[in-house]
């Protein structure tokens, strides 16, 4: 949370799993969709644009479009996209995209995964503002779910 730069985000996570397994979870369209929260019907290949149907509860009407850039087995996987899902009929294609790069590094006991997303400075302010709104709605939904849950358990 201490990032000062406004153009990029970098995250690292150490996973207790072999690189081959992490690679599969990232690049197998079905496996990727499983944890990312979208259903893809086409396999990931460099240069290919794929569309996924968002599966997060409450966002099922939205899609995510990803253009795969590089796939260097068990080392690097990158794609471009427009951060945030699209509403039906909404198009981002004329807006700048951000670049997401996953890098895998073998470390004792597993894999160090680094994800960098960059290019945010080019994203129009209005689009960023919309992300806040989506997030706000997301929270409202979460709060409602918690309330319902608490209501049930009391």
């Amino acid at each position: 949370m201490s990032t000062i730069a406004t153009d990029r985000i970098e995250k690292k996570i150490q996973l207790r799993h072999p690189r081959s397994k992490v690679w599969r979870a990232l690049t197998d369209a079905q496996e990727f969709g499983n944890w990312f929260g979208a259903v893809f019907t086409e396999p990931f290949k460099p240069g290919v644009s794929v569309r996924g149907k968002v599966t997060h509860k409450g966002y099922e009407h939205m899609t995510m479009d990803v253009t795969i850039e590089r796939m260097e087995p068990e080392r690097l996987f990158s794609w471009r996209w427009h951060p945030g899902a699209a509403e039906p009929g909404e198009t981002f294609s004329d807006e700048p995209s951000t670049l997401v790069i996953f890098e895998l590094q073998e470390v004792p006991g597993g894999t160090l995964l680094t994800v960098v997303e960059s290019g945010f400075d080019q994203i129009p302010l209005a689009r960023r503002a919309k992300a806040f709104r989506e997030n706000d709605e997301g929270w409202a939904m979460q709060m409602k779910a918690i309330e319902e849950h608490l209501g049930k358990s009391s």
Binding site: T3, I4, I13, F36, G37, A129, K130, F132
Partner: protein, 126 residues
């Protein structure tokens, strides 16, 4: 996600201010068209002048816009501290990646370890 909302406590006024379609549109218009009068901001929309003024005041409260008097007319502009929005935006994206990577970790835990690298596909547990 809700448990982590504490990280965004400081953003609450911005979230609230932007959590409205009309205000979002006003920000977009100020963003693309530069400083402008209420009359211009109201033109072509079904929202009344009074309503636009109210929305601008909410945005001003959140520190997103400011009114500048120019002669008899007041013009509204996005504040240069838009950077704040950019910063919060990045925090939001950053938080999403944290959630996604946690989801990836859970996914990996749920997948069986494969011996060597057989190309056999395994069915995912439901």
């Amino acid at each position: 996600m809700a448990a982590k909302s504490g990280a965004f406590m400081g953003s609450a006024p911005i979230f609230a201010a932007l959590g409205d379609e009309t205000r979002l549109r006003l920000v977009a218009r100020l963003c693309s068209g530069g400083p402008q009068s209420i009359a211009r901001l109201t033109a072509g929309s079904e929202v009344t002048r009074q309503a636009v003024t109210k929305h601008l005041l909410v945005l001003a409260d959140a520190g997103l816009v400011r009114g500048v008097r120019q002669g008899r007319e007041s013009r509204w502009a996005l504040k240069p501290e838009q950077l704040e929005v950019a910063r919060r935006y990045l925090e939001l994206i950053s938080e999403r990646w944290t959630e996604r990577l946690e989801a990836l970790e859970r996914h990996l835990e749920s997948m069986p370890e494969t011996k060597a690298r057989t190309r056999k596909r395994r069915r995912k547990p439901a």
